[in-house]
Amino acid sequence: MSVSTTDSSTAHPPSSDEAQRIKPPLLPPLLRYILIRIGISLILIWGVTVVTFLMTNLVPTDPVAAILGDRAAADPEIVAATRERLGLDQPLIVQYFTYLSNLLQGDMGVSNQTRTPVLESIGQVFPASIELGIGAILISVIIGLLLGLASALKQNTILDHAIRALSLIGISAPTFWIAAVGYYVFFFKLRVVPGAGRLDPWITPPPRVTGLYTVDSLLAGQMSTFVNAFGHLILPSCVLALFTIGLLTRFSRSSVLDIIRLDYVTAAKAKGLPARTVVFKYIFRGALVPIITVVGLAFGSLLSGAVLTETVFAWNGLGQYAFRGATTLDLPVIMGVGLVIGIVYIIVNFIVDLIYGFVDPRVRVR
């Protein structure tokens, strides 16, 4: 490699005017950072449409068989009419572009089984999963962080060992089993929580505003409905939260242990600040930043991973809708749910990236 030695001698020395006029960036770094993240998110969403479409349509089986009864399936005329009605007689690429163009117009198609628009059904079931997800994430954040903090502060004591063992159980116990046992013990034996479903069957749901029964009942001023909806939320949220509690406990423990050894914590202690201030204002706050990512991803996984919990508790959210779509080969439903969960993950990641961008200026100029 040759290195020119003439550049500096032959170039004009910068005038003092030019030296001061450092080119300003076209966009402020934060705005540029946000725009890039939006662009990446849009590309990812398009990628999700391709992947869900291909994976769904390459399943080696015929959805028409799942729709038609034995008699109708034996009639070639009905089979051909059904294929045409569903657009399955078109080449795959044409089907994809039809799907994409409909999607851009807010049309996710119609369920092959129930003939209900997929977007409408997702609109119905999504708030149920969101309500469950929020409940689970609140419980897991509060308990997981406190346990992680306690475990780190009492490192290598019996308490630490006990918490670590508990978190391991939370991570490894099968959710379906926990749900079934939880339902049996807390509903059937102890009667401390109400039965399955989002409300007792004889209660009419509150007028729909957000679709979250707890919020809607409060907005409608129906206190007894709120109490009932809240009661129904407790057990499934706790069951669903168990895995995330385990995860957050372990993660926050190691995060706190990293922070606890830093100089500014030692300095704070040396200044004689009260222990409570050191723990909550210095250690805990510092440990929180990396935990945001875990919380964000956990929320996405709660939505997509709630299938079995929703089944045990007859919750009828996105998970159960996806399960029905998969077992009946309802392609528009499978694609719709896949896309929505993909979008949730992308949005959560986008928000996490933004929070990083705001919190840590180094991120946005990279």
Binding site: A65, I78, R115, L153, F187, R191, W202, T225, A275
Partner: protein, 521 residues
């Protein structure tokens, strides 16, 4: 380091604890609803629509039975004798013409409109014309209104099954005026399905209050129903897994559960409820492909008969639970044309040995297909397949199990490329003609490439000609001969169980309506 929780944290914690304890007490909270006049029934939904002329699934049929009246009925669930419903009926001597006369002249739809013969005609024509799953019920039948009280149904060929077909919930009578106003037609352009899902148009004891194909369907009493007023003004049918149904029945959270298997049913004691066991209208069988290139050994009649005599049928009825039955053919024991149970195949391992020798079978593995995710009336097909594999192995027959999800398996079976496997059939209507599809030339026989059998074709022609009292024997002979070929090996007729909670004192449950919401007290 001593750490005390900040006051804010403590305050939030106390508030949460208070709300949790409030909420935990809400189990009995009525929340503005009334529990006493609501019947809660639970099933794992198999629901696509409740438009009567399109529905063809268990859940849709259960709901439509409560919403729609039909021209004919089965009294007290006796499936061998169709009786008058909205209409009375008469069959011509040649079984080609049925005359229906409006009988219940005071019957009214849920909006108060009277039920007329025009509604009956429209309902029949719509079922036939929209080309949905149940349209085949009236294939080859022409419908003619004679006057305001009479309709004639004419079939080109003798159709003795027609009285057994008309009680089906798929042939519910709808309010033609309202359905037509909402895009209902009698051809493929019909667009009333969504309307009928949300706004039922029947004259039965209930009407739809809320329809959600994924979570629950709520019915309310039809104030214009001409029968006795139901005790339960509301019925909530919820989509719940079988495991949760068991706990809900035991705790009183639900009063009816449809999907408990034999083991779960045993866990219900008298204080929690009871089990109504009914013969199901389902048949479980082994299919053998008759095409040598596909079926291999299964195409050889000697091999098939060897399999038939190698099975321990008593163990299969144990597996299917109390109340399940042996089968002499694929026709359920309660139907006209059923082969008596004492003529059902028996285990005879000596016979198996001889037949295998005759077939020249050398122990090669035969792919055996079944739905791994399906339970039929509580019989888990995966468990059934494993049991059969073990039994046949003892007799020297090797099955290579090929499990698949039910939608994939159905696809494979229909493509006629599977050598052997487990098939299931649920009666569309309780008449032996429903099983003609298993005779060469029928659509299911095509799936095992069974193209012809002169003996069976002759017996089928004779059975078709048989008049009322002779039909039973003629069809029994046909289906006994069918079983003897061992193309289909009848395994077991499972039992239909409905768990009924202890809060219900009186109920009607029969093979026609597995639980009658309107008659529960």
């Amino acid at each position: 380091m001593k750490v005390r929780l900040p006051r804010r944290v403590l305050a939030i914690g106390s508030a949460l604890a208070l709300t949790f304890s409030l909420a935990a007490c809400s189990g009995g909270d009525q929340g503005g609803g009334d529990a006493s006049d609501t019947l809660v029934a639970e099933t794992a939904f198999n629901l696509k629509t409740i438009d009567p002329h399109r529905q063809f699934e268990f859940t849709g049929s259960t709901i439509d039975t409560a919403i729609y009246q039909t021209a004919l009925e089965f009294e007290d669930g006796d499936l061998t004798k169709p009786t008058d419903g909205l209409c009375s009926f008469e069959m011509s001597d040649d079984n080609k013409k049925m005359t229906l006369k409006l009988k219940q002249k005071d019957a009214k739809f849920s909006n108060g409109d009277p039920v007329t013969m025009d509604d009956v005609v429209f309902s029949f024509e719509r079922l036939k014309g929209i080309k949905g799953n149940p349209s085949f019920f009236l294939d080859g039948v022409s419908i003619k209104k004679v006057d305001d009280e009479t309709v004639e149904l004419t079939s080109k060929k003798p159709n003795p099954a027609l009285p057994y077909i008309l009680p089906n919930a798929s042939i519910g009578i709808v309010n033609s005026k309202v359905v037509k106003e909402n895009d209902g037609t009698t051809d493929e352009k019909d667009g009333a399905e969504a309307f009928l899902n949300e706004n039922s148009q029947g004259s039965g004891p209930y009407k739809v209050e809320k329809y959600d194909a994924d979570s629950q369907v709520v019915l309310t009493a039809n104030e214009h129903y001409n029968g006795p007023e139901p005790k339960y003004k509301r019925v909530v049918l919820r989509n719940v897994s079988a495991e949760t149904q068991l706990t809900d029945i035991q705790s009183g959270q639900a009063q009816v559960a449809y999907d408990l298997n034999a083991e779960q049913a045993k866990q219900i004691d008298d204080s929690m409820g009871e089990i109504a066991s009914l013969p199901s209208t389902r048949s479980l069988y082994i299919f053998n492909n008759t095409d040598e290139k596909i079926g291999g050994p299964a195409a050889d009649p000697n091999f098939r008969k060897a399999v038939m005599s190698a099975i321990d049928y008593d163990k299969l009825t144990d597996l299917a639970g109390e109340g399940s039955q042996r089968m002499g053919s694929l026709v359920p024991n309660e139907f006209v044309g059923a082969v008596p149970k004492d003529q059902a195949p028996e285990q005879d391992l000596d016979k198996t040995k001889k037949l295998l020798k005759k077939a020249g079978y050398d122990g090669e593995k035969i792919p055996f297909h079944y739905s791994s995710d399906q339970a039929v009336n509580g019989v888990d097909l995966a468990q059934l397949a494993e049991t059969l594999q073990a039994q046949l192995k003892e007799a020297g027959i090797n099955l290579a199990l090929k499990p698949a999800p039910s939608s994939t398996q159905l696809d494979g079976f229909r493509s006629a490329k599977q050598p052997m496997g487990i098939g299931t059939w649920g009666a569309d209507y309780p008449d032996p003609t429903n099983y003609n599809v298993f005779i060469p030339g029928g659509s299911v026989a095509d799936r095992v490439n069974w193209k012809s059998d002169p003996k069976l074709e002759k017996l089928a022609a004779e059975a078709e000609k048989a008049k009322e009292g002779d039909r039973d024997a003629a069809y029994a002979e046909l289906y006994k001969a069918t079983t003897d070929t061992a193309v289909w090996i009848p395994l077991v007729q499972p039992v239909n169980t409905v768990a009924v909670g202890s809060s219900i004192n009186k109920y009607v449950s029969n093979a026609d309506i597995s639980f009658d919401f309107a008659k529960a007290e």
